[in-house]
């Protein structure tokens, strides 16, 4: 085993250990769960973007769409929690299928714009539909029970989410390296050649889009259950932009990048005020105190900086600097 994969493996274990211990080290469980749902969302997005090169700008439709239907199933229809979540995933798959069929026929930015536009249909539907409650959101989603275990406590919910997350992450990682993943890599590198070798490439891309949609849906459904409500923010295009940001910051096409990105951006979003005050305190510049009020502007700035200086993201840069010649994953 190479030095690098050893380092990788130990990083993974370290992260897992930290995640397990976090609630006991004073981390606030809801924050942890939010991070995990965004990290899962980013991993799902990365599955499509990082390994087919197709950047979807419409993943919010899958994430939020699943959240809404899970919420609907749990509140209005009184379904058990696991069934509601599965239903959310199912609906994400259906939306993903509709989006994917149209989008995978296009490349590059075309793909991005098509997914963005299609996601807007979902957004407007959610906006206008009565069950979503418009700006009020779909409120009061019960956490319910899982195999007889009440999910009411944040700690219990946290560990359930951790299990879901780790399992999904492991599975996503496996997909990337699976026989299917190999074909997709080939498609990405030379599509006409893949066709001439007898592969129906659009089916493979669609397959990947569906897998990605499924996990994005899972992330959205879990988030709805965790938070107990679902709002329009999750289907809005800015959320699609945010998941790109998470992945980009962490490192597109890497295993750990989306997680790192989610941790950094989510924490930043929440702690911006504290950071601002701290900066104000040490520099004496009052402007820093207003950082809190401009999170989206700061996200914009991070985007710009990332693209200009830091395209590979944190993990990607690490791999390129210290990794082997073949910095495919990490």
């Amino acid at each position: 085993m190479s030095w690098r994969s050893k380092a990788q493996l130990s990083t993974m274990w370290l992260i897992l250990l930290l995640a397990v211990a976090a609630p006991w080290l004073g981390m606030y469980p809801v924050l942890g769960m939010r991070i995990m749902s965004f990290a899962l969302f980013a991993c799902a997005f990365n599955l499509m973007a990082g390994y087919t090169g197709l950047i979807s700008f419409g993943h919010a439709a899958l994430f939020g769409g699943a959240g809404y239907v899970t919420g609907l199933a749990l509140t209005s229809w009184g379904w058990p929690t696991p069934a509601g979540i599965m239903f959310g995933v199912f609906v994400a798959l259906v939306i993903g299928l509709a989006m994917g069929v149209l989008a995978v026929r296009r490349y590059g930015i075309y793909f991005s714009m098509v997914t963005l536009a299609l996601a807007q249909i979902v957004y407007f539907y959610c906006l206008q539909a009565d069950f979503t409650g418009g700006e009020d959101g779909l409120q009061g989603i019960p956490r319910g029970t899982l195999f007889g275990l009440s999910l009411q406590s944040d700690r219990v919910m946290y560990y359930v989410m951790l299990v879901v997350f780790v399992a999904s992450w492991w599975f996503i990682r496996r997909i990337v390296r699976s026989p299917f993943g190999q074909i997709l890599q080939a498609v990405r590198e030379n599509e006409p050649r893949a066709i001439s070798l007898g592969y129906r490439v659009n089916r493979y891309k669609l397959g990947m889009f569906l897998l990605s949609a499924g996990f994005a849906g899972l992330a959205g459904a879990m988030k709805a259950v965790i938070m107990g409500f679902e709002t329009l923010t999750d289907v809005h295009w800015s959320t699609s932009g945010m998941v790109i940001l998470l992945t980009l910051v962490g490192g597109l096409g890497t295993d750990l990048g989306p997680i790192l990105g989610a941790v950094i951006i989510t924490v930043l979003e929440e702690k911006m005020g504290a950071i601002g005050h701290f900066l104000e305190h040490i520099t004496g510049v009052h402007w820093f105190a207003s950082l809190n009020d401009n999170v989206s502007m700061i996200n914009g700035a991070i985007f710009v900086l990332c693209v200009l200086l830091f395209r590979r993201g944190i993990v990607g840069t690490f791999n390129a600097r210290w990794g082997g010649a073949r910095a495919a994953s990490g």
Binding site: G53, R106, I109, V114, L245, M297, G300, C306, V307, L308
Partner: protein
């Protein structure tokens, strides 16, 4: 009174006219995007922000410098063009030759940043901007009153659109740009100062957005948020028209305005999504868009 779809004809006529007006705004915006996209293979997500800047500059000119609408009609697009020029020169140029998706992401971040900046300084609630004295009248068409300014905006947009089309499709300049999109270094090796051309094109596309902004300022509330939702509709229009096709952008922009107007009278709830649905339909039938060429 005669009716179509249960709607009085006069109302329908009025709607179509207004739809056409909306269409000209769409056309000019999507044209700017198409110019930048078709000639540089870059999607400018900040286009909506540029549109907003055009309107904000017009308003600021009036507010702080007491410059008339006519002055701002000239100055604001120039200023926005200058911003575009700087963006190209300082940022996008470094991404040339890379996957165009990076340009998209960069401009996305830029859009957030620009909007955020304007929001911090000017708040979000917007400000009124009035049409110039000369155009503040109302035209009585018999079946409706049409503010004179709307007529002006419509005519001005159409003129600019077709002027641009001529410039790009019918001049050598256009062929330099199209060639440079594909292989910039070779075009340079032919002795053409392509980086300069790109910069100017980007500035021109941005200026078009700025102009659309100034023209819209007297019609809608001028606010830092005015561009962010519009831009996605405009994306869809560009996709329908065939990305990069100048004619496609103009025609589908106009058509979309009219179709949206029809949707509003026929089945209102669909009017906000009709453009996206249309896009889906067009894509199934013609993946490259109406005027696009299959690559």
């Amino acid at each position: 009174m005669t009716e179509i779809f249960g709607v009085p004809v006069s109302l329908l006529l009025g709607q179509l006219l207004l739809g056409l007006l909306n269409g000209t705004t769409y056309a000019m915006l999507s044209l700017g995007l198409a110019v930048i996209f078709g000639l540089m293979d870059e999607v400018n997500f900040a286009h909506g922000a540029f549109f907003m800047m055009g309107a904000m500059f017009a308003w600021m000119g009036g507010q702080y410098f007491h410059l008339s609408f006519w002055w701002m009609l000239l100055l604001a697009p120039l200023l926005v063009g200058l911003v575009g020029l700087l963006v190209e020169r300082l940022m996008l140029r470094r991404l040339r030759g890379m996957d165009p998706i990076y340009g998209l992401l960069l401009t996305f971040g830029l859009a957030l940043l620009i909007e955020g900046l304007f929001r911090t300084f000017f708040g979000v609630s917007g400000s009124p901007y009035n049409p110039p004295e000369l155009l503040s009248g109302v035209l009585n068409l018999g079946f409706m009153y049409l503010p004179l300014y709307y007529v002006f905006a419509m005519v001005a947009s159409v003129v600019v659109c077709f002027g641009t089309w001529l410039l790009i499709e019918r001049t050598k300049l256009g062929s330099y740009l199209r060639a440079g999109t594909e292989n910039p270094s070779l075009v340079q090796a032919f002795g053409i100062n392509f980086p300069l051309l790109v910069m100017l094109t980007f500035a021109f596309g941005s200026a078009l957005a700025g102009l659309a902004g100034v023209l819209s300022a007297p019609i809608v509330q001028v606010s830092p948020l005015m561009g962010s939702n519009l831009i996605i509709v405009v994306f869809a229009i560009v996709v329908i028209g065939g990305m990069g096709s100048v004619m496609g952008a103009i025609v589908s922009g106009l058509a979309l305005g009219v179709i949206e107007a029809l949707a509003k009278v026929v089945y209102a709830p669909i009017s906000s999504t009709v453009v996206f649905i249309l896009m889906a339909v067009v894509l199934t039938v013609r993946p490259a868009g109406l005027f696009g060429k299959e690559k």
